[in-house]
């Protein structure tokens, strides 16, 4: 059986290996992705984001369980940071998801950021393509623990869940211009802790003041209190996701079209950026142009980055 057919048939080993090839930027993986892409677009993509330690992995574990109870299959991409010094990583999100290890209806993959900023990895969108093609109904993307501006998930997921915890009230205020804008649903996890109601109130105030995703004026983000460890609030969270999905489908699916188009555009531009850069560097190398030389000249102020790029483009792209 060809690799493409193995993937379409849900062969776990083939899927796992392809994901690795994608992560490692193997050119052969691109060829397989080309064949898989027409088979995709069926899965619902759900993003979980929030600061480190708010309970994203535990929530993802619970939500996966709830989807399984409702008869749906789940693919999970869980992202942890790469060391900026050694390039190594410890991927620990699985620790919270152990009970799914033997369920063939759940596929979990741990990913390292590998120097990519924005909360996702460079390969996340391509990996979603694979999990979609293998037939997973729901694909859950857990971002790396984020600060204020890692908002790539907003252009990746159909529904983005922003997770926070009580006692980050001041932070809620501070970050309202960045990450707070991307939540379709807000979760206050660890809601048994003191200050949970206050956090909910503060979020509600923000929302009443008009905190909305741009172009998403008619969706009022719900705020769900959860205790992920005990499973409290999980069915409510799932219902909120379902409501958001229905909202996207309203009015002749106009919102849905917008979201899926934004996804496609992001993926297209990402691929273009990556391939164009790689091609340009390849052509430079072929002509014997040394990147190091250019860096030296720029550093010495003999020239500037803008002129260099302009010259390169004129030379290489005519």
């Amino acid at each position: 059986m060809s690799i493409v057919n193995q993937i379409l048939a849900g062969d776990v080993r083939a899927v796992a290996r392809l994901l690795r090839d994608i992560d490692d930027q193997m050119p052969s993986a691109r060829e397989i992705l080309k064949e898989l892409y027409p088979h995709t677009g069926k899965a619902y993509i759900l993003g979980f984001t929030g600061s480190p330690g708010v309970g994203k992995s535990t929530l993802v574990d619970q939500i996966a369980m709830e989807y399984r109870k409702r008869g749906l299959t789940v693919g999970i991409l869980a992202i942890d940071p790469t060391s900026p010094f050694t390039g190594g990583a410890i991927l620990g999100d699985r620790i919270r998801m152990q009970r799914h290890f033997l369920d063939s209806g759940v596929f979990i993959r741990s990913l390292a950021t590998r120097g990519h900023f924005g909360g996702l990895t460079k390969s996340t969108n391509d990996m979603i393509t694979v999990l979609d093609a293998m037939g997973k109904d729901i694909i859950i993307v857990e971002t790396v623990g984020v600060g204020q501006d890692e908002v790539d998930i907003a252009n990746c997921a159909h529904t983005t869940v922003l997770v926070t915890i009580p006692g980050m009230g001041d932070e809620v205020q501070a970050i309202k211009a960045g990450i707070m804008e991307i939540g379709n649903i807000f979760v206050v996890n660890k809601a048994d802790r003191e200050g949970s109601r206050k956090t909910v109130r503060e979020l509600r105030n923000l929302i009443e003041l008009g905190l909305r995703r741009l172009g998403d004026q008619h969706w009022e983000p719900p705020i769900i209190e959860t205790e992920a460890l005990k499973g409290r609030g999980i069915p409510e969270l799932l219902d909120a996701v379902e409501k958001h999905r229905q909202y996207l489908m309203e009015n002749d699916r106009s919102q849905w079209e917008a979201v899926t188009q934004k996804r496609a555009k992001t993926q297209l531009l990402e691929t273009l950026r990556e391939e164009a850069l790689a091609e340009l560097l390849r052509r430079m190398a072929n002509r014997g142009v040394s990147l190091d030389d250019l860096v030296r000249k720029v550093t010495a102020r003999e020239t500037d980055p803008y002129t260099v790029v302009q010259d390169l483009l004129q030379c290489e792209l005519k």
Partner: protein
């Protein structure tokens, strides 16, 4: 395109002992060596370990065990790897083993056993020498 291939390693603790300091130290050492380390915590069954190794497409499984249950769990893990056509994944062990068990473990395909006193640098060097990331699939 064409980045270097990064080594992926699963550090797992089969069985019931909950002493994972060693597993964490070795996970950290592998991280500092530039490897991607999946760590799944304590109390893993052989089935869970093999399923994780396959889903995560690791090149190496490092089993940490202090309870003596290696006589059951190590052969079972090797068996499951074979059943799943994943015997290309290298398996090593670390922890406390009766000396007479070590040849038996190597005979079932455990590539190396590291006992207390093994130096982190030596373990990392062993991995660099003996474990290579696999080749890309071709459509």
């Amino acid at each position: 395109m064409a980045e270097e291939r990064k080594l992926r390693i699963l550090i797992a603790k089969p069985g019931l002992d909950g002493h994972d300091r060693g597993a964490r130290v070795i996970a950290r050492a592998f991280r500092d060596a530039g490897f991607e380390v999946v760590y799944t915590g304590c109390h893993q069954t052989p089935e869970q370990i093999v399923s994780t190794a396959i889903q995560e497409d690791v090149d190496l499984i490092g089993l940490s065990i202090l309870s003596g249950a290696h006589r059951y769990s190590f052969p079972r893990i090797m068996e499951l790897l074979k059943e799943n056509n994943a015997e290309d994944i290298t398996v090593i062990g670390g922890g406390i083993f009766p000396l007479e068990d070590i040849p038996k473990l190597k005979a079932i395909g455990i590539k190396e056993i590291f006992e207390p006193g093994a130096k982190l640098d030596d373990i990392v060097q062993w991995v660099r020498t003996n474990v290579k990331p696999r080749k890309a699939m071709v459509a």
